[in-house]
C-alpha cells in the first residue's frame, strides 16, 4: 500500500537535502540558501501533517528500512527503521513547524542584519532539523543514539557560528563536551541493552521494553549480568538517562545551556524549543515502557526533574540578559517534564513538551525580535518601554509569558498543572518520595511567575532606559509572522487537553489522552498506566484536579503579582539586590560552572600534564636509559679496537685458547 508512510523518509531527507544544497551552492543562491531551507522544512511540515492525520485515522507504521550492519551467524543485526505512532507523529509536526518558523525568522534575524557565512548557517539549520527528525522517527535505541549525537554536532556548529569571536567557540565546545559526558552513559546503556536483550527496538513483541516486561514475569530469560532483572533494568535505564540529563540540561549537566546563548537567537529557539533539549525528554517518553518497570528509575527521574525545575527557576530570578532568563526557564521547564515522566504522568509530560515547544520558541523568537530592535543589546536594564514601539512583539511575547508562568487559560497552565497533578496523586497514592519532587515543582511555580513577569516588565514596560530603547530598530513581516503563529498556539494549544475542565463538566475533551491512548500495542498510555500500577507500584489517589490546579495557579499569580508590584515602575530598581549574598550565589549559578571549570582546569589539566611528565620522564626515560646504557658500554668496549694488528692477533689467540679450554672442560677431555 503506497500510503503516506512511504513518504515519511522524505520528512527527514528534505532538510538534509537543504543542508547539502546550502553547503554546495548556498553562495550562489539568493538569501544564502534560506529559501532551500524554508521550502524543505515547509515540505516536511506538510508531510508531517499528512502523517499526523493518517495516524489519527488509527494507522501506525513500524518498519525497518535500512540494514546498517548485518550480523552473521547469530550476531546482532543493527538497523535503521521508522516508528510512526501518535507520539512521534505529534513530535514530527512540532519539530517541522518550529523549524519552518525559525527558518523564516532567520531571514529577519540573519539576512536582514547583514551577517556573513549564511550558507554555513542554513546548512547547519538543515542538518540540525534533519538530525532531530531522524531521532524522532527512530525505531530503535541505536538509531536514536546516532541521531542524538548528530544533533549534538549541529548544536556545536550553530552555537559556534560566530567563530571569529572568542565566546561562541568556547560555548560550543562546552555544549558538546558536557552533553558528550552524558552521552557516554547513554552509549554504555545502548551497548548494555544490546547485550541484555539482543535488540534495541522500541516497539513490537521483540522490543526491549517488552522483553524486559516478560523477563520480570519470568516468561523470558535475558542476560542480566548476575543482577536481579529489576536491578539490572534500573541500572540500564539510569545509564540511558545519563544522555537525557546531558541533552535536556538537567542538574548537574545543565551548565552548557546558558552558555549556548552565544549562538544566534533563532538557533536558541530551535535548540531549546523543539530539538536538542527536547530530544532528551522525548527519549524517556519513547522508551517509557522500560522506565515504567523500575520504580527506582522513576523516582530518580522525578527528583532530578523537580530539583532542576526549582533550582533553575531561582537562578532565573536575578539574570540581567533577556536570553539568560529564558535559558534558565528552559532548564526549569524541562525539569517539569522530567518530573511528569518520573511522577507517572506520561501524557502530562508529553503535553508539556508540546506546549513548551510552542511558547518557548515564541519567547526566544520574541527575544530575538527585541534584540534586533535593540541593536543586539541583550541587557534588560537598558530596555524598557518597548510595548508601544513594537506591539506585535509585545502581545505575542506576553502570550508566551502567560503560558510560561502558567496562567489560565494559556497553554502552559494546562500542561504544567497536569504534570503537578499527576505527581501529586501518585505521590499520595503510595509513593511518598514523589511528594518531595512535587513540593519542589510547586515552589518553582512561584519563581517562574516572578521571573517571567520581571522579564516582561523590564523589557516592555516603564520608560525607555537607553537611547536604543527610545528609538528601536524596526522588524519586518518575516519576524512578525512566526511570532503571530506561535502566539496563537501558545494561547490555545492547552485547550486540547483541559483535564480540570473535563473533570468539572464531564465532557470528553481530553483529546491528548485519546490521542496517546491509541497506537501501537505496548506504546499506548493505557499500557503505561498498567505497567506503572503493576510494576512500579504507582497508584493514583482519589483527588480531583481542581484544588491542586487552583493552588498552582494561585502561586503563579502570586509570583507574577510580586513582580508587578516590584517592577511596574517607570524607573524600576534592582530589588534583587536586597537578596544580598544570596543574589551573588544565584547570579553565579550556585557556582556550578566554577566547580566544573575547576574540574577541567585545575584537576584534569594538571593531571594530564603530570601524566605527560611521567610518560616523558619515566616510560620514555627507561627507553632512553636502555639506549644510553648500550651507548656507554659500547664506548667502553670499543677501546679494545686499538688499531694495532698484533693486539688483535693476541686476542684471537687467547680467544681460541679459551674456547678450546672451555670445550675441553665441558666435554670432559681432561
Amino acid at each position: 500500500m503506497a500510503g503516506i508512510f512511504d513518504f515519511v523518509p522524505a520528512i527527514v531527507l528534505l532538510p538534509f537535502v537543504s543542508f547539502l544544497v546550502a553547503l554546495a551552492v548556498g553562495n550562489r543562491l539568493p538569501k544564502g540558501g534560506a529559501f532551500a531551507g524554508i521550502v524543505a522544512t515547509a515540505g516536511s511540515f506538510l508531510l508531517s501533517v499528512a502523517t499526523f492525520f493518517t495516524v489519527s485515522g488509527g494507522q501506525t507504521y513500524n518498519q525497518t528500512i535500512y540494514t546498517w550492519a548485518n550480523g552473521l551467524d547469530g550476531a546482532v543485526t543493527l538497523t535503521f527503521g521508522l516508528l510512526i505512532d501518535p507520539l512521534s507523529a505529534m513530535m514530527l509536526v512540532i519539530v517541522t513547524l518550529i523549524a519552518t518558523l525559525v527558518h523564516v525568522f532567520s531571514l529577519g534575524y540573519m539576512n536582514d542584519e547583514g551577517e556573513t557565512g549564511l550558507p554555513r548557517y542554513y546548512a547547519g539549520l538543515g542538518l540540525f532539523t534533519a538530525s532531530m527528525l531522524g531521532f524522532v522517527v527512530a525505531d530503535n535505541l541505536l538509531m536514536a543514539f546516532m541521531f542524538f549525537e548528530l544533533v549534538g554536532l549541529c548544536s556545536y556548529l550553530l552555537i559556534g557560528f560566530w567563530f571569529r569571536e572568542p565566546g561562541p567557540p568556547s560555548a560550543a565546545k562546552k555544549a558538546f563536551l558536557v552533553t558528550r559526558f552524558g552521552d557516554y552513559f547513554f552509549l554504555v546503556g545502548v551497548v548494555a541493552v544490546f547485550a541484555t536483550f539482543g535488540t534495541a527496538a522500541f516497539a513490537g513483541s521483540e522490543s526491549f521494553p517488552h522483553l524486559a516486561e516478560q523477563a520480570l514475569h519470568g516468561e523470558h530469560s535475558v542476560n542480566t549480568f548476575g543482577f536481579e532483572p529489576r536491578t539490572w533494568f534500573t541500572i540500564v535505564g539510569l545509564l540511558v538517562l545519563g544522555g537525557v540529563v546531558g541533552k535536556s540540561a538537567q542538574f548537574p549537566l545543565h551548565t552548557w545551556l546558558p552558555d549556548a546563548m552565544e549562538g544566534p537567537t533563532p538557533v536558541s529557539a530551535l535548540i531549546h524549543a523543539a530539538t536538542m533539549v527536547a530530544a532528551g525528554v522525548y527519549l524517556v517518553a519513547r522508551m517509557y515502557g522500560f522506565y515504567a518497570l523500575s520504580p527506582t528509575s522513576l523516582s530518580i527521574i522525578a527528583l532530578i526533574g523537580g530539583f532542576t525545575a526549582l533550582f533553575a527557576a531561582t537562578m532565573g530570578v536575578v539574570k540581567r540578559e533577556i536570553k539568560q532568563v529564558l535559558a534558565y526557564s528552559t532548564i526549569s521547564q524541562y525539569g517539569y517534564m522530567m518530573l511528569g515522566l518520573g511522577g507517572g504522568g506520561y501524557i502530562a509530560a508529553t503535553f508539556h513538551l508540546m506546549t513548551h515547544a510552542f511558547f518557548k520558541a515564541l519567547l526566544f523568537l520574541g527575544a530575538g525580535s527585541v534584540i534586533i530592535a535593540m541593536h543586539h543589546n541583550e541587557n534588560m536594564w537598558e530596555m524598557g518601554g518597548l510595548k508601544d514601539k513594537m506591539p506585535v512583539t509585545y502581545y505575542t511575547f506576553l502570550s508566551g509569558s502567560l503560558a510560561l508562568a502558567g496562567i489560565v487559560p494559556f497553554a502552559g497552565f494546562w500542561s504544567k498543572d497536569e504534570v503537578l497533578y499527576e505527581t501529586l496523586v501518585h505521590g499520595l497514592g503510595g509513593s511518598p518520595i514523589l511528594l518531595v519532587a512535587y513540593a519542589m515543582g510547586l515552589l518553582a511555580v512561584f519563581f517562574t511567575g516572578f521571573y517571567t513577569f520581571r522579564m516582561v516588565l523590564l523589557t516592555f514596560h516603564g520608560e525607555p532606559r537607553s537611547q536604543t530603547a527610545r528609538d528601536p530598530h524596526g522588524v519586518h513581516w518575516n519576524v512578525k509572522g512566526p511570532l503571530v503563529v506561535l502566539g496563537i498556539l501558545a494561547a490555545t494549544a492547552g485547550l486540547v487537553n483541559m483535564t480540570p475542565v473535563a473533570e468539572l463538566t464531564g465532557l470528553e475533551i481530553e483529546f491528548l489522552h485519546q490521542w496517546l491512548g491509541h497506537g501501537i500495542e505496548g506504546l499506548t498510555s493505557h499500557h503505561y498506566v498498567e505497567l506503572l500500577e503493576s510494576q512500579a507500584g504507582y497508584h493514583a489517589a482519589e483527588i480531583g484536579p481542581i484544588v491542586p490546579g487552583l493552588v498552582s495557579l494561585a502561586l503563579a499569580l502570586a509570583g507574577a503579582g510580586l513582580a508587578y508590584f516590584l517592577y511596574n515602575d517607570a524607573e524600576p530598581t534592582e530589588h534583587t539586590d536586597k537578596l544580598g549574598g544570596a543574589k551573588t550565589v544565584l547570579y553565579n549559578n550556585y557556582y556550578q560552572d566554577e566547580y566544573q571549570v575547576w574540574l577541567a582546569n585545575s584537576l584534569v589539566q594538571p593531571f594530564s600534564r603530570g601524566a605527560d611528565k611521567f610518560d616523558q620522564g619515566v616510560v620514555d626515560g627507561v627507553v632512553n636509559g636502555v639506549s644510553s646504557v648500550s651507548l656507554l658500554s659500547g664506548n667502553r668496549v670499543r677501546r679494545i679496537q686499538s688499531g694495532v694488528v698484533s693486539n688483535y692477533a693476541v686476542l684471537l689467540t687467547l680467544g681460541l685458547t679459551a674456547l678450546i679450554l672451555g670445550f675441553g672442560l665441558l666435554g670432559g677431555w681432561f
Binding site: R638, R639, Q641, S642, G643, V644, V645, S646, A649, V650, T653
Partner: protein
C-alpha cells in the same frame, strides 16, 4: 702407511711457528709469511685426513685453499705496498689509524 699423528704433529708445529711469528713480529711482510704458514698448516691437515679417510674431498679443499692463498698474497702484498707508500714504513704497530 704413515700414521696420521705424524702429519698432525707436523701441522701443529708449522701452525705454532706461524702463530709465534704473528704474535712477535712487527714487520708486515713477516706477518704475511706467518699467515701463509698457518694456512699451509691447515692444508696439511686437510690432505692428511683425506689420505686417512681415503676420499678426495680434503685434497680438493686443499687445492682451493692454495688458490685462495695465492689471491691473498696478491692482496696482502698490495696492502703492504700501500702501507709503505702512505706511512713510509711497514711496521704494523705504527699504523693505528683504523681504531675507534
Amino acid at each position: 702407511m704413515v700414521p696420521p699423528q705424524y702429519y698432525l704433529l707436523l701441522s701443529a708445529a708449522v701452525f705454532c711457528i706461524g702463530l709465534f711469528g704473528i704474535l712477535t713480529r712487527r714487520n708486515a711482510l713477516l706477518f704475511l709469511m706467518s699467515v701463509e704458514l698457518m694456512l699451509n698448516a691447515a692444508n696439511i691437515n686437510l690432505v692428511a685426513f683425506s689420505y686417512v679417510w681415503g676420499n678426495v674431498t680434503g685434497q680438493t679443499f686443499g687445492l682451493f685453499t692454495m688458490a685462495i692463498a695465492a689471491a691473498e698474497v696478491a692482496v696482502g702484498l698490495g696492502i703492504i705496498l700501500v702501507l709503505y707508500r702512505d706511512f713510509g714504513d711497514v711496521d704494523v704497530t705504527k699504523v693505528t689509524t683504523m681504531r675507534w
